[in-house]
């Protein structure tokens, strides 16, 4: 089998970059591989992905040495548009790359550019629709699709052009667990049944580790490729089952729930899950009270008659499928969004945004406008008349080292942390975070978890809307699941997550309900 994608001694420095984004990269991806690029945020994954179709350096400038060839073609000698027949790139936010309005037209767009004849095009469009389970959506406007549907359409559009290699940047970041699984299954079908080569970058390893057969580990711009177990095992921050395996000394390290169950079968079973007193915070005073909440968004009714309480010391995880109303709930709590009926009270009064509730939106970039990280946090402090410095807030999120950097120069995950710090600086009694782990590598995620826990301990509360199951398992003291605009589950994380097929964390899947994190299991076993 030939190599579809080759990197030969590639080094690239962004214009105005201090050091190389990728350095001395030698890589060969064989045809039919299912490859995963993994590593901390800012370590060069996105850069490498964009170098595979020539966007780096042709669209980004900078200094490029070495050679990248796709299907034998040098990316420096061919414009990206001339590589469109061999490599297709699906960016992180598929909505941003949709050109046309109807799904069917979007699928055909790539082929139109390549001059494929109409008969052939029609056939390919049909096949691709079937492959990704999209035939019912062919007439729909892409604007009306859910996040998961959009992702599948973006993949279908990339596929329909008939490339040899499909490159995807964090394809499950916007998806709920079910949607993520659908996408991964579709990709695997493509690899196994149709000989497609797939290269994807992903942080949420619990969603992908088990599907891929080659892993490329990134560390400060340098890469090391090998088997998934090898690379991920060396990272020190793989999916929960891998971390558990590392802590318990399992060999080979499990990457999937199945492998973990097999490994655990041979050893002692942990005792009944302990009730962690620190986690199940005492139900003290009520910080937020919601009664009979009805709310709409973009002319559709999203929340129908919601009742909810948030107590002091609580970290409440709000979960649900894409479009279940999590964001809308947070916006209503923050006082940004007017409910159509019902009552919301923070500490007994109507919520004042930025004062009673600090909300960090999904798109962190919407907050950032200063020229340094420190100024960004100070902007919040100044707005509330606080004389102090930004230092403590930066330290709490572990980004003190970035204080002098310009936010736009940072990676997506780092920017998210900056935005979180800026919102945390409101020091509001209720901290609300909307999908705070999107694009965050495991190390940053740990810092965030620590921060949220500390915040809640101070007599305040936090609400986190997320579909990152492992985050909920690690940080929540209470979990609420929304569906159809209503609360369908509310309670102790072990119970709620343990009861759900879709939102069950890996530990639950291995050891049963009530088991949430590897640390918990290890503690119980020792």
């Amino acid at each position: 089998m030939s190599d579809v994608l080759r990197f030969d001694a590639v080094t690239y420095v962004y214009p105005e970059g201090a050091r190389p984004a990728i350095e001395d990269v030698d890589l060969a991806i064989a045809e039919g591989s299912f490859a995963l690029a993994v590593g901390p945020t800012g370590s060069g994954k996105s850069t490498l992905l964009r170098a595979s179709n020539g966007l780096v350096p042709q669209f980004t400038g900078g200094t490029f040495t070495g050679r990248v060839s796709v299907d034998g073609r040098d990316t420096l000698a061919h414009a990206p548009r001339r590589l469109a027949d061999v490599v297709a790139f699906v960016p992180q936010d598929p909505g941003a790359s949709f050109v046309l309005d109807r799904v069917e037209d979007e699928l055909a767009y790539g082929m139109e550019n390549l001059g494929v004849d109409p008969v052939h095009m029609r056939r390919r469009v049909e096949e691709t629709l079937d492959l990704l389970d999209l035939p019912g959506l062919r007439d729909r406007s892409v604007r009306t699709l859910s996040g998961g549907e959009r992702q599948r359409v973006a993949i279908a559009a990339a596929l329909a052009a008939g490339p040899r290699i499909l490159v995807l940047d964090e394809p499950t970041s916007q998806l709920d667990p079910q949607g993520a699984e659908d996408v991964m299954a579709a990709l695997q079908r493509l690899v196994h049944d149709h000989g497609m080569t797939v290269l994807l970058a992903e942080h949420r390893l619990e969603r992908v580790a088990g599907w891929v057969d080659v892993a490329i580990g990134f560390d400060h711009g340098r890469v090391r490729s090998g088997t998934p177990a090898d690379v991920i095992g060396h990272l020190g921050s793989g999916p929960p089952v891998t971390r558990l395996g590392q802590m318990l000394g399992w060999d080979p390290l499990p990457l999937t729930v199945r492998a973990a169950r097999a490994a655990a079968a041979g050893g002692p079973r942990p005792a009944l899950p302990p009730r962690d007193p620190a986690r199940n915070g005492h139900r003290h005073g009520v910080v937020a009270e919601v009664r009979g909440l009805r709310a709409s968004y973009a002319e559709t009714t999203v929340l129908r008659g919601l009742d909810l309480d948030v107590h002091e010391g609580e970290v409440l995880a709000v979960m649900g499928r894409n479009g279940a109303g999590k964001s809308t709930l947070l916006r209503v709590l923050a006082g940004i969004h007017e409910p159509s009926a019902g009552q919301v009270q923070i500490l007994g009064a109507k919520p004042r945004p930025g004062v009673d509730v600090g909300l960090c939106p999904q798109e962190a970039d919407e907050l950032l406008f200063s020229d340094s990280v420190e100024h960004e946090v100070r902007a919040t402090l100044v707005a509330r008349g606080e004389a102090g410095g930004a230092g403590p807030w930066l330290a709490a999120l572990g980004i003190a080292g970035l204080a002098a950097r310009h936010p736009r120069d940072l990676s997506a995950g780092q920017r998210l942390l900056v935005a979180t710090a800026a919102v945390a600086a409101t020091d509001a009694p209720l901290l609300a975070l909307d999908e705070p782990t999107r694009g965050l590598d495991p190390a940053s995620k740990e810092r965030l978890i620590g921060f949220v826990r500390a915040h809640a301990l101070g007599g305040r509360a936090a609400v986190v809307a997320t579909h990152d199951v492992e985050l909920a398992a690690a940080v929540a003291t209470r979990v609420v699941i929304l569906a159809g605009g209503e609360v369908i589950a509310d309670g102790d994380p072990g119970a709620v997550l343990g009861d759900s097929r879709v939102f069950a964390p890996q530990m639950t899947r291995v050891f049963g309900p009530g088991w949430l994190t590897p640390d918990q299991v290890v503690e119980a076993l020792t």
Binding site: S296, E299, T300, T301
Partner: protein, 286 residues
């Protein structure tokens, strides 16, 4: 495609707004006469009048214009002719120069956009002769009995630019013999090419002298005073086509056309609002 058109047509007809259109369309034959009905005449009244002759090169139109002051500027004379006789005009250079008359001439602010052709400005001497104007239309003064002429052509001075056809003031503004004997409003008299008996006095008056207070002038009653249609259907007289005597509609108030426009605007605004409400409702159900 024929199917598409017929399905669309039937769905269109079923819509209430389309029904409104149909109603409006049906109303038009009713409103047309109202709109085009002759406005009350003013020509029989006394007062200063001046004549305006427009030679587009393709034809000549003349207007007897009732002045609203003892003297007016050449620009204002044209505006009055527009109001009274439905002359269409366009000014440039901030309203100081004449660009367009009776549909001829450049649009916009530059009156010399079609150079070498432009509107040449002449003053009549009352007997058929013309003098090239030494001042612009904005500063020229026109009084009772004056004759202003405009010719579309090329030529940078009176020596080279074409003149209007020889015209006397009385060719355009027919003086009444006495106020008592012929007070006829122009609407009633439809004496075609024949001037009313006794109305024409000999054209011996100097054009620029103030009129004899005893003599009124009226516009030549050569057509029946119905608005714009008659402007095109003028009857030829000696040396000039007479336009409709056109009473000034300035004081006539909003016409029926405005009411129709108002109704149309309301229908559109209401229809649009309704559409948005129904589409919003449809969406929230889904």
């Amino acid at each position: 495609m024929g199917d598409d058109v017929s399905t669309v047509a039937t769905t269109v007809l079923r819509r209430p707004v389309a029904a409104a259109f149909a109603v409006l369309a049906a109303l038009m034959p009713v409103t047309w006469p109202a709109v085009t009905e002759a406005s009350p005449a003013c020509a029989a009244e006394s007062g200063p009048h001046a004549a305006l002759v427009i030679d587009t090169g393709a034809g000549v139109r003349s207007f007897c214009v009732a002045l609203d002051a003892t003297t007016v500027s050449g620009i204002h004379l044209i505006e009055l002719a527009g109001a009274q006789g439905h002359l269409s005009y366009g000014f440039g250079s901030g309203g100081q120069a004449v660009c367009r008359l009776a549909g001829v001439g450049p649009q916009g602010d530059d009156c010399f956009a079609d150079y070498p052709q432009y509107w040449g400005y002449w003053h009549g001497d009352g007997h058929g002769g013309w003098t090239w104007s030494s001042s612009g239309a904005a500063s020229a003064r026109v009084g009772d009995g004056a004759l202003d002429g405009w010719v579309w052509g090329s030529g940078d001075s009176g020596a080279s630019h074409p003149k209007p056809p020889p015209t006397a003031i009385d060719d355009v503004c027919v003086p009444e013999a006495t106020p008592a004997t012929s007070p006829s409003p122009s609407r009633a008299t439809h004496a075609a090419a024949v001037p009313s008996a006794g109305a024409r006095s000999s054209a011996s008056k100097a054009s620029s002298s103030p009129s004899d207070p005893g003599t009124n002038r009226s516009a030549k009653p050569s057509n029946d005073g119905i608005g714009r249609t008659s402007a095109l259907a003028g009857t030829p007289t000696a040396g000039a086509l007479a336009a409709a005597p056109g009473p000034p509609p300035a004081s006539a108030g909003p016409g029926p056309g405005l009411l129709v426009a108002l109704a149309l605007g309301a229908a559109l605004a209401g229809g649009g609002w309704l559409r948005i409400r129904t589409s919003r409702r449809r969406r929230s159900i889904g």
